[in-house]
Symmetry: C2
Subunit: 907 residues, 2 copies
Amino acid sequence: MAKKYVYFFGDGKAEGNKDMKNLLGGKGANLAEMTNLNIPVPAGFTILTEVCTEYYKNNEKYPEGLIEQVKENLKKVEKCMNARFGDPTNPLLVSVRSGARVSMPGMMDTVLNIGLNDRSIKGLINQTKNEKFAYDSYRRFIQMYGDVVLGIEHNKFEKILEKARKRKNVRHEKDLDVEDLKEIVLEYKELVKKETGSPFPDDPEDQLWGAIGAVFKSWNNKRAINYRKINNIPDDWGTAVNVQAMVYGNMGNDSATGVAFTRDPATGESRFYGEFLLNAQGEDVVAGIRTPLPINLVSKKVDSELSLEEMMPEVYRELEGIRNKLEKHYKDLQDIEFTIQKGKLWMLQTRSGKRTGFAALRIAVEMVEEGLIDEKTAITRVEPQHIIHLLAPVFDPREKEKALKEGRFLAKGLNAGPGAASGKIVFNPDRAEILNGKGEKVILVRIETSPEDIHGMKAAEGILTSRGGMTSHAALVARGMGKSCVVGCSDLDINYDEKIVTVNNKILKEGDYISIDGTTGEVIDGKILTKDSEILQVLIKKTMKEEDSKIYQQFKKFFTWVDKYRTMKIRTNADTPEDASNALVFGAEGIGLCRTEHMFFDEDRIDTMREMILAENTEGRKKALSKLLPMQREDFIKIFRVMNGLPVTIRTLDPPLHEFLPHKDVEIEKLAQKTGVPFETLKSKVESLKEANPMLGHRGCRLGIVYPEITEMQAQAIFEAAVAVKKEGVKVIPEVMIPLVGDVKELKKQKEIVVRKAEEIMKRENEKIDYLVGTMIEIPRAALTADKIAEEAEFFSFGTNDLTQTTFGISRDDAAHFLPFYMREGLLKNDPFETLDFEGVGQLLKLGVERGRKTKNNLKIGICGEHGGDPETVKFCFRIGLNYVSCSPFRVPVARLAAAQENIVEK
Amino acid sequence: MAKKYVYFFGDGKAEGNKDMKNLLGGKGANLAEMTNLNIPVPAGFTILTEVCTEYYKNNEKYPEGLIEQVKENLKKVEKCMNARFGDPTNPLLVSVRSGARVSMPGMMDTVLNIGLNDRSIKGLINQTKNEKFAYDSYRRFIQMYGDVVLGIEHNKFEKILEKARKRKNVRHEKDLDVEDLKEIVLEYKELVKKETGSPFPDDPEDQLWGAIGAVFKSWNNKRAINYRKINNIPDDWGTAVNVQAMVYGNMGNDSATGVAFTRDPATGESRFYGEFLLNAQGEDVVAGIRTPLPINLVSKKVDSELSLEEMMPEVYRELEGIRNKLEKHYKDLQDIEFTIQKGKLWMLQTRSGKRTGFAALRIAVEMVEEGLIDEKTAITRVEPQHIIHLLAPVFDPREKEKALKEGRFLAKGLNAGPGAASGKIVFNPDRAEILNGKGEKVILVRIETSPEDIHGMKAAEGILTSRGGMTSHAALVARGMGKSCVVGCSDLDINYDEKIVTVNNKILKEGDYISIDGTTGEVIDGKILTKDSEILQVLIKKTMKEEDSKIYQQFKKFFTWVDKYRTMKIRTNADTPEDASNALVFGAEGIGLCRTEHMFFDEDRIDTMREMILAENTEGRKKALSKLLPMQREDFIKIFRVMNGLPVTIRTLDPPLHEFLPHKDVEIEKLAQKTGVPFETLKSKVESLKEANPMLGHRGCRLGIVYPEITEMQAQAIFEAAVAVKKEGVKVIPEVMIPLVGDVKELKKQKEIVVRKAEEIMKRENEKIDYLVGTMIEIPRAALTADKIAEEAEFFSFGTNDLTQTTFGISRDDAAHFLPFYMREGLLKNDPFETLDFEGVGQLLKLGVERGRKTKNNLKIGICGEHGGDPETVKFCFRIGLNYVSCSPFRVPVARLAAAQENIVEK
């Protein structure tokens, strides 16, 4: 006996159900489910996704038995719908629709009105008493079938239609009369014959199989393949095909079609929300030619509109009943499609509804409160990405709409730091600071940014760059600061000298207003009003009280659940007391990465740093370092105070020293004047420190090994600070982290210095500090020899930024030349600097964990790369057994949620 | 019962033997062996190396039972030597010497004449009837013991000695008389008391234990620790201690001391070769104050010298007998030490003798011919390093000696390319070519070199740079060319503009003669005559006939053995027909790496290459590529012809495109004039291609992926060339290699292009070519995902240069800032760019092999990094199962030997 390839649904009984999405596709599974729930669904059947897979495996042939099964099921549909396929008096018409496991909106084909021909149209006229409707359906059918199944260019049909409109001198085809439509049908048929060499197929069975074949083929059209690449959908999933009896919302003013959400998908409010069109087919709603009406009174925005609730109160009540049934059954926001045919309601689709971050949070919290779902389910209902939206400032929606209508859209870049920002264009970071000091809002517009621009970035509302990717300096720092940021906007031509930026022939000057939306990447000319997120207003800005913000209260409640089901710790990457304190309110449980180098870029420090670098010998270096010591100590004191009771991981100096030196002759000259060192000497020192590949150069622990006095000073600053705050009653847990270790000997040497200094200071000050000395695992050799490194390390922290660079052999700074191409061409699924490459880099993480813990059973292991804020990476880290992830302050709640979700999945 | 810690030797019977070096140390094992061979050896005993290890483990305490065992064995020595330790009439005196498993010459301490005190000296006088000798020995003893055991500064003793000489007004202490010596002994003792607070120990047992302790302690002195670091000797091996009866070569003119080699260690000639001093102690020979005499007539260089053979014919005959016995027994060149005491010959040491490359080869070959050893043993007797010496040109030894005596030594750099070279200083590669064209010999002196200097490097006798390490561009290219090369000679201050080089205040101008020894790193002022190695004269230069060169004949014979026992293939890295043909005569079995990019640097090609790079679109690129196509095809045709019958692995374009562009404004201006492209456009293109980390940038297959037309052109050139030579009757086996693959998808994309082109051309030309498409494994991700990559790859070739850079996160070009420091401080044993890092990078190789062969059982795997010419790496590659290594032409014999040796070891 042949395998069962076809599942029936109809008349309150279906062979499938909602849990069979892999076989039936999302649409088919939910049609079956609704049928079983006794919701009115036009009868039909689903051809399994397997058939698609076998079809392609088998040189586009159908498996044995399929034809018979389709025939049998069609009979069942005829019985349910009390009509016959191709019948001249009472014809059954069907639709053929795709339906993959996950929604691929608009990517595959659909054919409607199958079963119409010159004979059955008579039956349709007979059934509907509406000749115009019948011929309009016939015309639509031939056009759709001609296009989708027979591959005839769409606009060839449109031309015929246009000609008819011109003949009749009307603007829209709905104004054509029956005779016109009959004429068009004839012309369409001629076109088909001319184009294909054969007459239009008038056998309903041929029509049906043509449509099924077209839907299967559309699984492998270019659009669909691309969509799958982008969305990581395997090619071998295949699509199901749904054959379903047609119902019509365009049979007159007792017919309608609409879409609705069981709750408001924008705000999450629990009210039935939707739109409909009277006397229309589904495609008319999508086409957007007519303005839909609200389904009920509460959705009404304009009093003059008439709602479905008012027009067809009974049908509306039935629909509302179905809404309640579906929500109770699915226990989630549903996105539904319905058609009313001559006063009878038919449901055509239900699926989980897309929603904004605000809605996701509200629905999740309220459904728990309503007893619909439990806390764990609520946690899985909010996407980590939603949290980012919740925290970002937003444009006033009306203002933005206005701007776009006025043609003020300029360009689109990469959406690097979420949120909207608007301000005056400034090209220079100093100027940004000055203007900000005067209370001006500015957008810092740069070709790219560097650590020397940080004060300007801080002062700006948002950052816009013409170069760089999602992990460029600008993007990283902006995300860390929670600033709106659009990068790699290559349409911008920035001229620092003339202080202008040209974009598509439009010239903007410094001081002109510009607006950027870091959530979408849009760049818009002029000013648009923005608002802080409420959560930020409550938590960080303190401009709103907790009790005044419902969304904040829900946020807070939601995260108590998140933390209940979470086991992995979330720390933050923070270099300043401000960062640390922001991270704390977002729930950080420690600092996982405190980069000491950023502390040296302040104007009053960089000169001393340069003095250290330019010193001729150890003596000179020590002298300069002794000036830096009190500054570093003060930095640590402040951070320790903020982090009272929580661990603080401090990384010793990491970047190559030339990063601290000026590179342009003018700047070197300035430094020469300042220091009294001759220009030539300075210049040659700068030259001698230049590196061919600074990422792989003299940096990380290689600095502290060649210049142990640097590590010594840093250790001294850390432990003197620790002792000082301990004496104030602060609980201090310093963890000293040695960067770029490749061999255990390096760690050993650096650890010796740290331990010696720590013991010295504790003895001198008569205080005991609990501290750890550990290492970053950020080059492949460290992961490969993690068992040895663990002999010295008291913790590991994966530096996945550098580990990704070295494992791939890709410089983040240079990747823009080819990575975008790679992603476009499907050579890479994700930007590996955004979501960890589990297949390659992930292996090294796993190896590092296994080997490290082989040596030290309970070795504490975390991650502190930018990946720590990426939800998928956080989940991976949980799966491989990390103790914590560390991310930028604004990503802390994101990571908390992702970690909790993975906990729940595991159980 | 306590463990046995002490092994006795004496009177023809020893408890140890030569195979017990791990326990007895090298010296002790061979003293035992000689004793067992009935060779006259002063009796003594060896304290095991284990004792040293336990001593350090146990807080510098001796293990239980040691003291008793030393006492017992000392009794045995007394019995053998018929004398008693500390006896006032017939005293036994002993020496205490270190002796580790491997020789650590001069690193540890020795104490002689132990057992002397104010009582036993009387016995010594009585025994020898030589009071002056006795007091001289006493003085030496106190001085040595005071220095080595008691830690009193050496020059404090020297001052006393000097005072005595002044008092007596003599130049040398041998001219002091007994009374003077007695006085000195008293003063020495006073010094000891003053310095240590205690009198000089006069109990012989105390003296003995003091000396033993001092020798054990010297295992951990700074020199010894450093030596072990440099020579990879584990710290826990420990040293043995040899306590042995003293014999004296300074008891009069019937006494003597000497060292000898059983064959000539410089040439390998089978003649007894050695030197001796009459009436002298061993330390006098080492001190080099007196000129030693030849031991026999054949060693005499000056007629006036009297040889030992002439002076003491009977003793000499006995010594010669021992020489024969030792050589037959050890079957290897022996380095021996002897002392003649009052006409009686004593042997103090025998060990395998160090030898030059010439001697190593000759001895190995001749010992096989003599039936002493078999071929396999011969193969293990020649070090791979020896082969490099055999191929290098040499300075005329007398000329070099003269130059050094004249103070013409200038500086020392890294010995990057072996061999001697002498010529006129030239700073500019073009100028080097011009002068070379005129028949001048030149040394190219550069701060560092780049691919654009290659023509100048070719034209030069040798290359000298002030920057760069052992794997800098200069070093790599020079080794590839087999040129003498000294790099990183930082004492040089090179000024291109003034065309001078300053070194230690000496100024040399362009055109001045300079000489460099790439085998030693020496840089010498002026001209020194050099000679080509004979093997090169025969094989490459054809300036000597095979039958005229004995060393060549031995070389040839030796390598027939090597190839008999070798299974791993050796290929070569060759980019030109000349390289390929040189490699062939050295035994290369294919090309493992043919870099196509070097072909684009020729002056007539680089412009077309630049045209390609500067093209605005695919069209323009294709146009330029079509001009490069015939050139590339011609290159491949020539190489295929040379390599008839052997595989040729061709790597597609690898370096970032900016390497082909000029970077200085003047050069850009020149190019602008040439191409008609505006300067600004060119300049901005050059800028836009600049990369922060070019090593990790847009290069390797990333070029061919973004610009598939490049790979297309290269594939076309390869297969059109292959077809062309096949039509000539050449057997051609092309292997196309895709560089820098990190994911199988990259390889798949590139392979598709290559296969498509290959099939297209084969079809068009109606020829069938056997070819493979494979990949380099040169970034960690490739090794980690080798199982997947092997699905597409038909072979793997490990690019260990880049793999080392990425696995360590170290840029080779920048490593000079810290790698030398790392090596000095023992953080790294070897330069990982010279000898593969087995612990880290080696893991990735093993992983790559395992995973690659998991997918494809018989996957061909090789290595083509510079490491392929490093003997230790070659052996590692054999062990992990590679099919071949590929190295520069001049390293091919080195690799052949190393591969054969590891084969033999494995069996």
